[in-house]
């Protein structure tokens, strides 16, 4: 069964690749996770082309969830969505902390949840208590 895929967008290639490494460790069956980090010149920044490329590399019927690091990455993520009108309804951007959101999104995707559910789970990572009292 197709599962939701995840795209990690960051200004830093290392950062995005590192998250994919971290998350892939949990080996969620059939969950594809791709990094779109840095510019095409390998500098700090984001690239619409890298984002659309990453999306195309992992698109499934269940859809694709995009997570991003800071501000301007969102603009490029939104541009990418506009450039992929054929994916409308199957692609969305989460308002989630990048590392924590990607981790939990992968776990939820692994459970076969829908795109909307995976997005909600990623966004709920904001409310994680990482340290207990």
């Amino acid at each position: 069964m197709a599962k939701v895929s995840i795209i990690v967008i960051s200004h830093s290639k290392e950062l995005a690749d590192g998250i994919v490494d971290l998350v892939s460790q949990t080996k969620q069956e059939d969950v594809a996770i791709a990094a779109a980090g840095g510019t095409e010149e390998g500098e700090i920044g984001t690239s619409v082309d890298r984002i659309t490329g990453a999306v195309e590399s992992v698109t499934t019927e269940e859809g694709v969830l995009l997570l991003f690091d800071i501000g301007s990455a969102l603009m490029n993520a939104e541009m990418a969505l506009e450039m992929l009108p054929e994916l409308e309804g199957r692609i969305t951007i989460a308002d989630a902390p990048l590392v924590e959101g990607a981790y939990i999104a992968a776990v939820e995707a692994g459970m076969g949840k829908t795109l909307e559910e995976v997005k909600k789970a990623a966004e709920s990572a904001k409310e994680w208590k990482k340290i207990e009292d």
Partner: protein, 206 residues
């Protein structure tokens, strides 16, 4: 007032020259309230756009600016890439099929550009972004028609006015009050855009 395809091409090339010339200043401004790459971003993006324009020949101003927009979107790594890219893409749509722009047509493009920046960045006038320059320039054009010399003056004045503002959008907004006292880099690059317009219009007309 009329802007031919040739002048519109010169505009793009002149913007590039200005970005190269002021690259360091743009980055210094960004260093103060951002991440210091605005000059680098603008210089690279517009250089690629200029190369593209030089390598092609266009009758249709819309097609020309669509190419410029795509290049900026692809080649600028920062926020200014999608912002300028969207601006010129929306303008290009407004200019589609035209080989010359009268005051009204040019203004339509600028209006569309501002709409694009607003949609993309969700900022408003006064947020200390490039919009602080684009909005007043657009308003003036809508009211009185295109006067490139006036647009240049307004852009310079409005870029200056960003100094005292607190950033509400973009990276600089994380600084809160500390963003005061510095000109917004995107406002300055936008000033250069209109400075370039005034120059090429004057040269084209003479």
């Amino acid at each position: 007032m009329e802007l031919s395809a040739a002048v519109m091409k010169q505009w793009a090339l002149r913007i590039n020259e200005k970005m190269q010339e002021h690259k360091d200043k743009l980055s210094e401004l960004d260093q103060a309230i951002g991440d210091g790459d605005h000059g680098h971003n603008m210089a690279r993006g517009f250089q690629e756009a200029a190369n593209k324009v030089n390598d092609s020949s266009y009758d249709d101003i819309g097609t020309m600016y669509k190419d410029i927009a795509s290049t900026l979107i692809s080649k600028v790594g920062g926020a200014s890439g999608p912002l300028y890219g969207t601006a010129f893409l929306k303008a290009a749509n407004a200019w589609k099929g035209r080989d010359v722009l009268d005051s009204e047509a040019f203004t339509e493009g600028i209006e569309a550009a501002v709409g694009g920046i607003e949609t993309r960045g969700k900022a408003s006038f006064g947020d200390k972004t490039m919009l602080d320059v684009w909005i007043p320039v657009r308003d003036e054009m809508k009211e009185r028609g295109v006067d490139t010399e006036q647009a240049n003056k307004t852009a310079a004045k409005e870029a200056e006015a960003t100094i005292d503002r607190v950033a509400k959008k973009g990276r600089a907004s994380y600084l809160g009050e500390r963003s005061k006292g510095h000109m917004d880099p995107g406002a300055f690059s936008s000033q250069l855009v209109f400075e370039a317009l005034a120059e090429v219009y004057k040269e084209g007309a003479s």
